[in-house]
């Protein structure tokens, strides 16, 4: 994911969406216009090129309506925040996007393809990664193994190669380890590389979760409350890592976040939800001033 060739795609590669999910050059000069900047206001909005479109989603549990017609559009290279009081339906909406919940209504369109009915692992293979509100790591595996599981869809050798440990299997495993090391470097997980995840501090587990997501070469990462329970220092580290991945690789993010300070600093665009509905959206400053948002947060 960090190889120079991929970081700077040649113009030829870029038709429609390139391997990073950035908009292509079917519109002349678009690539020059597009820059993974952190400020939404400075970026041209390319409406028809949104990398992820979530439309009019409704999720019900028995009688409870968890999501009631909510949706958002994520532009390539954008960091979008999904905010809202407890029980607003943020996690449920993310679960629809990653494929754990079937929505009653609505669509999820990723890179121009309707993925509403695709199983989670196929969405992941298209470049949609996810981290969780509560740690969902592989608890009995080491940190580096956790990260390497994200590469299994790209395994290029057979079961027989594995059993006989052929040159092909060895080479691929070395490559996979190298890829994992890149992410370990980025998120500074060296010290924990060979530690079993169970028993690691929560802050480190959050970082491992992000590392596992990034190892998949995602185009979009959905993060459910990545900052929850972290110390100030850990928050800053994680924020820096997110910004770095966003700026150097153009990975887009959807962050569900309660910490408004983080949201203001990090995000280009904010979508505010309450009781399953979107009540406001726009640039962070505008949403923070929106009376409905203020009321939802103070009232909730």
């Amino acid at each position: 994911m960090f190889s120079a060739a991929k970081r700077h795609p040649t113009r030829k590669e870029v038709v429609g969406f390139d391997s990073w999910g950035r908009p292509g050059d079917s519109v002349p000069g678009l690539l020059e216009l597009w820059e993974p900047s952190r400020r939404y206001a400075e970026k041209p909005r390319i409406a028809e090129r949104s990398i992820l479109i979530v439309e009019d989603v409704r999720v019900e549990f028995g009688g409870i309506v968890a999501v009631d017609g909510a949706g958002f559009r994520l532009e390539p290279g954008q960091i979008l925040a999904l905010i809202g009081p407890n029980g607003a339906g943020k996690t449920s909406l993310l679960n629809v996007v990653s494929g754990f919940y079937r929505p009653r209504r609505g669509h999820v369109i990723f890179m121009g393809r309707d993925i509403t009915h695709l199983p989670p692992h196929k969405r992941a293979r298209m470049g949609l990664a996810r981290t969780f509100q509560h740690s969902e790591l592989f608890m009995h595996m080491t940190v580096v193994e956790n990260i390497m599981t994200g590469l299994e869809p790209w395994r290029r050798y057979s079961l027989l190669d594995a059993a006989l440990w052929t040159e092909k299997a060895r080479r691929w495993e070395e490559w996979a380890r190298w890829k994992a090391e890149q992410v370990i470097d980025l998120l500074e997980l060296h010290r924990y590389r060979d530690r079993v995840v169970e028993g690691l501090p929560p802050g480190i587990q959050k970082r491992v979760d992000l590392a596992r997501a990034l190892a998949q070469d995602p185009k979009v990462v959905l993060m459910d409350e990545p900052m929850a329970g972290l110390s100030r220092e850990e928050k800053e580290d994680l924020a820096r890592a997110i910004v770095e991945v966003n700026e150097t690789q153009g990975v887009s993010f959807v962050l569900v976040e309660h910490d408004l300070e983080v949201v203001m600093d990090l995000c280009d665009y904010v979508v505010a939800m309450e009781s399953g509905r979107v009540i406001a959206e726009g640039p962070p400053e505008a949403v923070a001033r929106d009376p409905k948002v203020v009321e939802a947060y103070l009232g909730g």
């Binding site: 969902e136 608890m139 193994e145 994200g150 299994e152 079961l159 299997a169 380890r177 190298w178 596992r212």
Partner: protein
């Protein structure tokens, strides 16, 4: 890990034999196995029996230890492998065909036959977990034995002609040739399992075991991985069954009943679930080799009949042992050994 030994390349870290002590252990193991026949016919048959069960236990350790899919049907799957060989030989002989060497030639086919049945056993795992999955595999176990009893082997016992176990005038049904063949096959199967365990396939299985929701979110096809774990475990059972058919005079269904499945599961849990080679080996050594040699020493104890006799005591101890390991030592004997090793490494400065 010996201090001061650093590995430069990842390939070196992945190797099975990383340190001089590993090579020394390998040399010792090979020497012991090669010279074991000198200890007499009993140790040869004991070792061959242990090897057969080691293959089956390694298979179950892939399904249950590595992929977390509990199975109580490994014994019946051994039966599928054994009957695949014995029935085919019987049918060929009845049709007037030559069966020369067939008991050996059919070993891979027995593995594949069991793997096919294992795939069917994987179907409930797409929906069920834990106890419910265990119940489903229990049902499969009972059903398979029922099929053995009523359709495949109503006479209780199929004996293959010696000719079927003979290749190039060497009889592989017992003695040294049988021993070396079984040990060689076991070594290859164990190495293959260890390789799969450290590969990306093995990591995917562990991921499914630890958290199947996360496994799907990193792009792992959970259903496919479970199916593979069942098929692979059953393949090992099938090979073990074929070797059972080779090394025993006759194949009868009572060897593949629920008790065998429970024994195998106990070997995996007590030895070390997820440690596919060493865990399985320790489990087999304790619950097969040591266990089957306890009768004489136990019955020489004067009071044994006061507490219900040898069998009753063995059942009781077996139950307590399994319960203890499941509750107190989820890592099995391997985990205990590791702690002892840590302790010795730090000794006398333990803290």
């Amino acid at each position: 890990m010996p201090a001061g030994v650093f590995k430069e390349r990842y390939a070196e870290l992945m190797a099975h034999l990383r340190y001089p002590i590993h090579w020394a252990g390998l040399a010792l193991g090979v020497a012991v196995l090669a010279l074991l026949p000198l200890a007499g016919a009993y140790s040869v048959s004991l070792a061959a029996d242990a090897a057969v069960f080691l293959i089956a236990a390694i298979g179950l350790n892939i399904t249950t230890g590595l992929a977390g899919q509990i199975s109580l049907a490994q014994g019946a799957l051994m039966g599928v492998g054994a009957y695949a060989v014995a029935k085919t030989v019987e049918a060929l002989a009845a049709g007037g065909h030559s069966v020369a060497g067939m008991a050996l030639l059919l070993i891979p086919a027995a593995g594949l036959a069991a793997a096919a049945v294992g795939l069917l056993l994987a179907l409930p795992s797409f929906r069920l977990k834990g106890y419910y999955l265990a119940m489903a595999s229990l049902a499969a176990q009972v059903l398979l034995v029922y099929i053995f009893k009523t359709i495949i082997d109503p006479q209780q016992g199929i004996t293959m002609p010696d000719e079927a176990k003979t290749v190039a005038d060497i009889y592989f049904g017992d003695g040294y040739p049988m021993y070396y063949l079984v040990i060689a096959i076991t070594a290859v199967m164990a190495l293959a399992a260890a390789n799969i365990g450290r590969s990306s396939v093995g990591r995917a299985m562990k991921a499914v075991r630890d958290n199947d929701v996360s496994a799907s979110i990193v792009g792992i096809d959970v259903a496919r991985t479970k199916a593979l774990a069942f098929a692979l475990g059953a393949f090992y059972a099938g090979i073990a069954g074929a070797l059972y058919a080779l090394t025993n005079n006759s194949v009868a269904w009572d060897a593949f009943e629920l008790a065998t499945s429970i024994d195998l599961l106990a070997m995996v849990l007590v030895g070390g679930a997820g440690r596919i080679i060493w865990g399985s080996l320790l489990g087999v050594l304790l619950l097969r080799v040591v266990w089957s040699n306890l009768d004489a020493p136990l019955s020489s104890l004067g009071f044994i009949n006061l507490v219900g006799g040898v069998d009753a005591v063995k059942y009781l101890v077996f139950g307590l042992l399994v319960a203890y390991f499941v509750v107190k030592e989820p890592e099995g004997l391997i985990g205990v050994l590791r702690r002892v090793k840590e302790y010795l490494r730090l000794w006398p400065f333990s803290y």
